[in-house]
Symmetry: none
Subunit: 191 residues, 4 copies
């Protein structure tokens, strides 16, 4: 006996959409499962059946709800510094336009729930990081990276720097911030 109604794709999407909208409207802390269910026109149990926590819903909303920035690889013009600068500027402009609430919400979810942290890292952070690593690998092959530091470390430094700005200032980094970070990482600061 197989059987059983299939998962409703329209409900799934309505939930992710509602979570996205409410997240941007009210922020992570004031986001409630009740409100998501009401806005999505869905029973609460339909949320709890498929997600284990508020953080998990938000993580999925970020991934599939049209909230996350698209997976755009850094350009490859041959000039690693210009390419990184362009890529980070693109990120900063997206953060600036969409507000920082998404990144703050994902950070809160990550910091509070280990399981969410794993999902987000695997499906949100890691793919973007991988694009960055690929570009850095090309640069290394081309002899454009002086130090022997592993590419993952470099990628982590770039991303972490911008995240730290968002957390400590609670506002989006500027294009200048992006440029400076690239300068520090690539140009080095040592004499």
């Amino acid at each position: 006996m197989t059987g059983g109604r299939r998962r409703s794709e329209s409900s799934r999407l309505a939930i992710l959409d509602a979570a996205r909208d409410l997240l941007l409207e009210r922020g992570y802390e004031r986001l409630t499962i009740d409100a998501i269910a009401a806005r999505a026109g869905v029973g609460k149990q339909t949320i709890y059946r498929w997600w284990g926590s508020k953080g998990a819903v938000v993580a999925d909303a970020a991934l599939e709800g049209g909230l996350a920035p698209p997976l755009v690889p850094p350009p490859d013009t041959g000039d690693i510094e210009a390419d990184l600068r362009a890529w980070l500027r693109d990120w900063t402009s997206r953060l600036a336009s969409g507000g920082t609430s998404l990144i703050l919400a994902l950070t809160a979810a990550t910091a509070e729930d280990h399981a969410v942290a794993d999902v987000l890292y695997e499906r949100f952070t890691a793919p973007h990081e991988q694009l960055l690593r690929d570009r850095l690998e090309v640069a290394r092959m081309a002899g454009q990276l002086g130090s022997e530091a592993p590419v993952p470390t470099i990628a982590g430094v770039l991303i972490g720097s911008l995240l730290y700005r968002v957390l400590s200032r609670q506002e989006a980094p500027t294009a200048d911030d992006a440029d400076l970070v690239v300068r520090v990482v690539l140009g080095g600061t040592g004499g």
Copy 2:
């Protein structure tokens, strides 16, 4: 205007101690005011009389509850790379020993509550960052920093890199991680 009873210092300390303990035990989200009051042997009103929210208590507990690492300036041996390495290694060992729960809890509090973010930044992050900046300033004067990147940016890159590792891996960075970050920032990676 006759006087009344003065604020009880012992209650104040009991509250901060209880908040600190519970923060480490249960994390920020699962920390409740009721639990703090019960553990501290204090009425809830005594908490609300002096602090405005859970975040404010947590911020104070981090600062005064013996939770925050001491303000230790980076050494100044003249070798900026070695000094930064020592300072960051010191941080990583503290994070490793105390576990990552403190940093995760404070990150969650920061991401969720703007007011907490401000307090923590001003009284927790900024002072440490200032010590780092001072040392970097000395290095710049000594011509040990090649790039023209502002010192605050450099400090942010160093701190953000380590924070990002904690968030994405959910474990404390190693001494090697610290070394690599310093290498990237000081040595540069550009050809």
Copy 3:
């Protein structure tokens, strides 16, 4: 109009059996359709296809699930008092052996659901009451009933008295209780 599958008798019986068992185990209020379906190995829709409500299932289970006491007419030895005494004692012993949970569950169902009350009265209470009335009618014809009270009233007094004992004491009436009720009703208490 071609035919379809016929109603499954085995499912029908499984549902009534499950309802009976669960009614005795948990009482009316804590009895759920989900539990009946699970215990019977049946889909919920199969219950709702044939019964309109929990009450309807319970009523049927009481009637057909082997739950109801058999329809045994009072004996007719010519001595109405002895016969009623025997009949009521028989009831009290059944209540005592089977526990009072059935009578309490059916009373709850009756009190909560008008439709259940009607079905149970028509198909459970009324037939038993009818047997009692028939015997009383015989007694009246034989001149053994002094008062002019209608036979239905007398039957109601006998049954209601015992039911009241079950409800107010929450335990089965004893044989002595049965005897006393018969004595009051037949012997009268007026001077």
Copy 4:
């Protein structure tokens, strides 16, 4: 250390009033704790702090919410039959005017919850029954009760008969019903 806010009498009364109103409006089964709390302008916890179940609230509402008939002793004119008739007629008229929903609700609560049954019996049924017993005791002393049946049995027969009519017919007994019951119990039906 004594201390602590005292139980709010106004909340207690608002809860009982709301429960009474909603019981009469919607019946016992459709009465919800949420609705009581909302109507009373009270937090749900304030209900659960002081009562253990819906049945317990209803029981209290019946007792103190102005819902229960007042404790009126049967008259004592010296004629036990006339007095009982008057008393039971009084009850039937009250049941007829107030509807049977109260008696059905209390019966349901009694049948479903043993603890509620005890409370209701002690504080609702027993006091009324006691008044009846007292009057019957007087009659017995005066030699107006022929049979040796215990007074509590007689009282139970009178009350149970009327209750049975309410349950089986789902409508209030008439004055005629009351008269007939008294006739059966006092006049006897035996030859």
